[in-house]
Every structure is written in C-alpha cells, then in structure tokens.
C-alpha cells in the first residue's frame, strides 16, 4: 500500500534525523537503525542518500562539522596522552 510505504519512509527519515542529532554518520546510522529499529541498512542508506540530495547544504555542513570534530577529538586525545605521559614522567622523577 502506497500509504504505508510513505509512512515508513517518513519514519526512516525521522529516525535518520534523530541519528544526526546524535552526530552519527551514515554508517553508524545504518547500524543503529538496523539494530534498534530493525530497518534494513539498504533502506536507511537509500533514504539517507535521498535526504542528502534534498538537503545538500545541510549535509555538507554536517559532514564538515563531523570531520572537524573528529580532528578535534584526535587532537584532544593526543593532548591527554601528552598530559598523562608528562605526569607519569614527573611522578617517576619525583620518586627518584
């Protein structure tokens, strides 16, 4: 029934938006929807692609943002590692 297809697609759309709110990428979204809502990844992927076509600017900005955040995350992690290394160094030196 066409009507239920429409609602289904709408639902998938909604779910994808929720995933985006969670800052997920396409693959993560496919996985989450498959796991939590039993939605075939191919469907999620298709709807995602179509959404991207309809909302190009949004997705461009989103992708860019995620990439930026990833970079930041890595940098931060790196920093933390540095901090930990430093503190352990100073600890060991203090022991001596």
């Amino acid at each position: 029934m066409g009507d239920s297809s429409a609602s289904y697609i709408h639902m998938v759309h909604h779910l994808i938006e929720e995933c985006i709110v969670f800052n997920m990428g396409k693959e993560e979204c496919m996985e989450a929807l498959s796991k939590h809502a039993n939605i075939k990844p191919v469907i999620t992927s298709t709807v995602w692609n179509e959404l991207e076509k309809e909302n190009k600017e949004f997705f461009e900005a989103y992708t860019k943002k995620r990439r930026g955040e990833k970079v930041r995350e890595m940098e931060t992690r790196h920093e933390i590692q540095g901090v930990i290394a430093d503190s352990s160094n100073s600890n060991t030196s203090a022991d001596h």
């Binding site: 909604h14 969670f22 309809e54 900005a61």
Partner: protein, 425 residues
C-alpha cells in the same frame, strides 16, 4: 429441619401419608422457599442499576458503531474512518464524554488509554480486555478500522501529514495563542473535533518544551565545548556551523537547566524498552506546570496499544483533555520523567558531565547532546529511536526536507527491496 425430616421419609417412602407429607413439605419447601428466593430477587432492580450507570448508553452505541465500522471497512482510509466515527460521535449527544475522551487521544494512545481508564472505572473488565485486544491488533493506520468492538472510541489517526497541518496551523496562530477552535478552522478538516485538537495541542506543547530544552542544552553544550576546545586546541574552530544547516532548531533558550546537568548522572528512567513504549501521559512528573508530557507510561493498565506499531501502554491522558476529569493515571516516571528537574529532554540521555572539555570515550558517552558527544550511548540512541517508532507524529528534530518518495522507492527496487516496509527483516 423439615428438610432433614423429610429426607428419610422421602427416601423410605413408607407411608403414603408420610410420603405425601414429606412431599408436600418438600414441595412446599420448593414452592415456598424457592419462590421466596425468586421473589426476593428483584430483577428490575438488578437491571435498574445498570441503567443508571453508564453501561447502557455505551452498549447502545455499539451496534451503531459496529455498523459504521463495517461500512467503512477495515483498513480503509484513516480519514474515512475518522469521519465515520467522528460523525457518529458528533451525532450522539451522549458522546460528549466520549468525545472528550477521544479528543484526548486522537489517534494516539491517549484516547485509547483514557478510554481505557474510563472503561475500567465504569465498566467491567471484559470490555477492557476487549479493547485491549482490539487495540493490540491495530497496526499503524488501521486503528480505527479495527476498532470495531471497542467501545466507540473515536480515535484520530494523527498521520504525519495531519500533524504537519496541525503544526502549520498552530504556528500560524502562535503556539501559545493557538486555540483549538481556531486551529480546527485553519486545518479545515471535518473529521477532527475540537477535543481532538485540544488534546493534541497539549501534547504538542509539552513536547515542544522538551525539545526546546533539549536543543537549548545542546546548543549550550556545544557552545561551551567550543570554548573549552578553543582553550585547549588553539581556538581555531568556528562556532558551530551546526546552527546554520539545521533549520529545525527552535530558538535557543538560556541555559536554565544547566546547573544541574553536569552533576547528574541520569540513568535512564525506567523505560528501557523503547520499542515498547507508549505514550503515557504523565502529569506528575515534570515539575513544570505544563501538562502531561508525552512520555510513555509504565506498566500498568496496558491499554491501548500502539498507535503505530508497538504496544502502547496506557496512555493516560491525564489532563490531556483539557478540563476533562481524567482518569486516574497510573503514571509512572517513564521516559520523560527524568529527574526531578524539568521535564527535560525526553531522552534522559544525559549522563555524565558534558561540560568536560574532554570527550572521554565511553565514559561520558552519552553526553546530553550528541552535538559534542562523539560516542552517544546505546541507551540514549535506543531511547530516541524508540521514541520515533512509538510516536510517529512527533515533529522532526531537524526538519529536513523529506526525500522524494519516488526516488527512494525506485532506488530500493533497484537494490532489490520490493516492499517497504519489508516483511522480512
């Protein structure tokens, strides 16, 4: 005594006289005692009580409803169902209370639940059971169609389209100023009653508050995060570009929820079965005055099932129906209930201090808002997903332009997915 005395006589049947006597006695016993019993039961009274109660009226309705439903067929247009059932509702003067009740729920759970409540309080359980089983049969749109036996609850099927029109009307009037009668006019749909609108409006407003709170949090967090990030990383990042693309974001309210955020580790409130969620109205929980939240209620009188797919538990529309004396709600702190603070976000996914500059990997996983949370927790995602599944009429968080149905379906066919939703998962 007589009986006892009779027995031996009857059994032995010795003397005719004795036998006769005993028989007479027994007969007289029969005649006198039983008739007494019979007479003592005044059947008029027995039914009188029922008449006075609400039962009859509803029972009277049933055949009509049944007729209506059979006319409308099963699974036919939801609008048709709505109109049919609504007409019925409107025609019947008694329907006032039904109307209110149905209005509250409109399609979703509340009507069913309220109705359920009402039923429980007034009828007997068989009715309730009936309803429950009926409800559980309902699929997405066939709620009305299958509602045959149910007691005439006219449920409005809040399809996304219908809801969209509703939202348009509300926004046109101004959310706070939107009056059901005006909304009804703007929507121009005959099948809806003012009550349906009123209850839906209440839910909508409550939900908006949650969303707003959530977005506000998110925005604030991401803002803060950027501040921290800038401090730590050289500050070359720009302010979140996030806002630009997301058209759906409501205006950001000041971080009034902030202060407690960081300190609380909010587990998810009870509801861990998002897929089973329903939407209970839960008045008591949010400290904020506003009406019942959308949240799914807990266990108890699981009434009405899912409007869309899953089983909806009782939707206690407490207060959903404005002014209607509602039903006792078995509310329970479910999803939305979250912590004492505010009806905040319906996902209760705020776990650890999001204010931390460092996005710790799994620890802080479920930051309040994924905006800066790279690794949202499974629970929060599950909760969000469950929310969508159980309440399809909820507005889209981002409000992105919907994909073209034809392209989607076409592409899916090319990929080998013939049916949507797929029957085999």
């Amino acid at each position: 005594m007589l009986a006892v005395a009779n027995l031996p006589n009857t059994t032995t049947t010795t003397a005719a006289t004795t036998k006769d006597e005993s028989q007479e006695q027994t007969e007289s016993f029969n005649n006198e005692d039983f008739p007494d019993l019979l007479e003592s039961i005044d059947f008029g009274d027995l039914f009188a009580g029922i008449n006075d109660g609400d039962m009859l009226p509803d029972l009277e309705m049933d055949p009509e409803i049944l007729a209506d439903f059979s006319v409308s067929g099963s699974g036919s247009e939801s609008e048709m169902n709505i109109s049919v059932s609504n007409e019925k509702v409107e025609d019947n003067p008694r329907k006032d209370e039904e109307d209110k009740v149905s209005g509250s729920g409109s399609g979703l759970d509340s009507s069913l639940s309220t109705r359920g409540e009402e039923i429980v309080s007034k009828r007997d359980e068989s009715v309730v059971v009936n309803r429950v089983s009926k409800e559980s049969d309902k699929g997405r749109k066939s709620t009305q169609a299958k509602n045959n036996q149910g007691k005439r609850k006219v449920k409005v099927d809040w399809t996304p389209e219908l809801h969209r029109r509703f939202v348009q009307a509300v926004e046109q009037l101004g959310v706070d100023k939107a009056v059901p009668s005006r909304i009804l006019e703007l929507m121009g749909i005959d099948c809806l009653t003012r009550h349906n609108i009123a209850s839906h409006l209440q839910k909508y407003r409550s939900h908006r508050k949650h969303l707003l709170a959530r977005e506000a949090e998110a925005a604030t967090w991401s803002h803060r995060r950027q501040m921290y990030g800038a401090a730590g990383g050289g500050g070359k990042r720009d302010m979140s570009p996030w806002h630009a693309p997301t058209m759906g974001f409501p205006p950001i309210t000041p971080m009034h929820h902030h202060h407690f955020r960081p300190l609380h580790v909010w587990g998810h409130p009870p509801m861990e079965q998002p897929l089973m969620q329903m939407w209970p109205k839960h008045p008591a929980h949010s400290p904020s005055p506003p009406p019942p939240t959308w949240p799914p209620p807990p266990p108890p009188p699981a009434f009405d099932p899912s409007y869309w797919h899953h089983h909806n538990q009782q939707r206690v529309p407490n207060g959903l129906i404005s002014g209607t004396p509602c039903f006792p709600q078995p509310l329970a702190p479910a999803r939305f209930a979250t912590p004492p603070v505010t009806g905040i976000p319906h996902h209760a996914m705020y776990k650890v201090d999001p204010g931390m500059a460092v996005p710790t990997r799994q620890l802080a996983s479920s930051g309040p808002h994924p905006l800066f949370d790279f690794h949202p927790s499974k629970e929060s995602i599950d909760a969000a997903i469950g929310d969508v599944l159980s309440k399809p009429w909820l507005p889209l968080p981002l409000g992105l332009a919907p994909p073209s149905l034809d392209s989607v379906l076409g592409e899916l066919q090319r990929q080998g997915v013939a049916k949507v939703p797929p029957t085999s998962v």
